[in-house]
């Protein structure tokens, strides 16, 4: 009887990029902060709220807002390149669905690889999806932010609460606060 090896049905030898985070700025003073929304309900409101908090704490140079044309896949190359050219750090939100949670994490990783510190915000119902995407991108240690689910259906006050809860992590990931320091 001939004995043969079983075949791997997954494919192999996939190329992935590096897994080094971008260099963190010494401070946010004078920097341009990109706010990348994905059209999901409350994404813009959440980003504006974070911008307000940053404005109140640091002498940020400028905020620039951008919108993806489709939430389910990563940001298109042209917009990505524009953001990389125009911004020093980026905050992107909000991955509160199956495809957009993974896409938001993929965007965050792409910005880090392009040298732009990035905060990717998803909702915590999609932690596993975000983690799976980070592994798939070959960047298993990528740290993103998971706000308490849901986001889409929240009013202003509740959204404010969500932002307050994750703000220390936003600041830490951006490098605005040294590790261990809590605002």
């Amino acid at each position: 009887m001939t004995r043969e090896k079983l075949l791997d049905p997954t494919g192999s030898d996939r190329k992935t990029g590096g897994s080094d985070l971008a260099q963190r700025p010494a401070s946010l003073r004078g920097l341009t902060v990109g706010l990348l929304g994905n059209t999901k309900p409350n994404a813009e409101v959440l980003l504006a709220e974070i911008a307000d908090e940053l404005k109140g704490r640091y002498d940020v140079g400028e905020f620039r807002s951008y919108t993806k044309d489709y939430f389910g896949t990563p940001v298109k190359t042209e917009l990505f390149d524009q953001i990389v050219a125009e911004c020093d750090v980026v905050v992107t939100a909000v991955g509160d669905c199956g495809s957009c949670s993974a896409a938001t994490v993929a965007d965050g990783i792409a910005f880090e690889r392009a040298g732009i510190p990035a905060v990717a915000i998803i909702s915590d119902s999609f932690l596993l999806s975000g983690n799976a995407m980070a592994r798939m991108q070959g960047f298993g240690g990528f740290e993103f932010i998971a706000v308490h689910h849901p986001v889409a259906s929240l009013g202003e006050a509740e959204l404010h609460g969500r932002v307050q809860a994750v703000l220390p992590d936003v600041l830490r990931i951006l490098g605005a606060e040294p590790a261990g320091v809590r605002a």
Binding site: E4, T10, Y70, F71, G98, A102
Partner: protein, 363 residues
Amino acid sequence: MTAVTDDLLADMAEIRSAMEYYARQEWTDGLPVVPVTESYLTEFLAQTSRDPGEVVFAIPHLNRECTVWLAAVNAAMAGCLPEYFPVVLAAWDAIAKEPYPKRGIWQSTTGTAPLLIVNGPVRARIGLNSTGNVFGSGFRANATIGRAIRLTVINVFDLHPHQLDQATQGTLAKYSACIAENEEESPWAPLHVEYGFGPSDSAVTALVVRSCMHIEARHTRAPEQLALDFANTISRTGALIHETSSALLVLGPEHAQVFAAAGWSKDDVRQAIYDRAVNSRASLAAVGKEAISRHTRWRVPADHPDAIGDRASQGPEPDLVPALVAPSAILLAVAGARNAGVSTVIETFGVRGDTPSSIARVG
């Protein structure tokens, strides 16, 4: 009492060891898979002239692509016979033409599945069921061709449930969904002929489906009554995430004959359903779906901060809201047994009527 067969002996330890190996690797939909080795795979690859390295479908944002070789490994694991493989390849060609699979729909909470409709002589050649129990079990070609797609989605594209596949509930069609059209008992030209193929061609149409609903109308010979039953099913408000819905109507042969006996063409059927698939503004408001979001164009209540009016609100009859963008948002096929007035509405994902037909030739 023990009943044993006389004709075959098996090495149980060996069989279990292979089955459990695949399960441990999570290379499965939960059911046992067929072990595949190079020599077995050769029989599948011999069924096509395409290069084993050719990419049949890619999802760039997942950094994954399916080659002819990988499609074959997963088809064999799914239990396909080698002669089914050209149909599996055509299925991938059709899926590649669908707008949503490459845009993350298989990661989505909506929880869709690919549905395949096979037309042409290949149906009889490989024993695809197009008649009784067409959505049910019991037919190897239907069961395993549909499953070949699912296993590939899991294994090649890494879309494991609870991981990158974030379906809230999913659908039963995620195990396998492959039917053949009952061309022999259809009063009209088959689906693939509508799309310009010849009757002697074989082709696979692929759709992204959400749900599968049963319509019983055994009492009527009036085509208008039937059309209204289908329209009511298609226009249900629960289906409306987007501004409009879209559907595949799989008519049982008896229902198809009711329409044909009245002299209706497929387009007449589509038009009649389109005309009747309408919600009143008030019935949409009652479920909070009377407006759409200016960002996503998903339905939202009028007092939502992102709310804008839908297309109908700008038209001559703003209080009557069509559930379909056009009659062509309904795909029509005939399948099942000619034994009762039963049909199925399958809700598809995406705004049909303005998207390319996702159909590909077999072989």
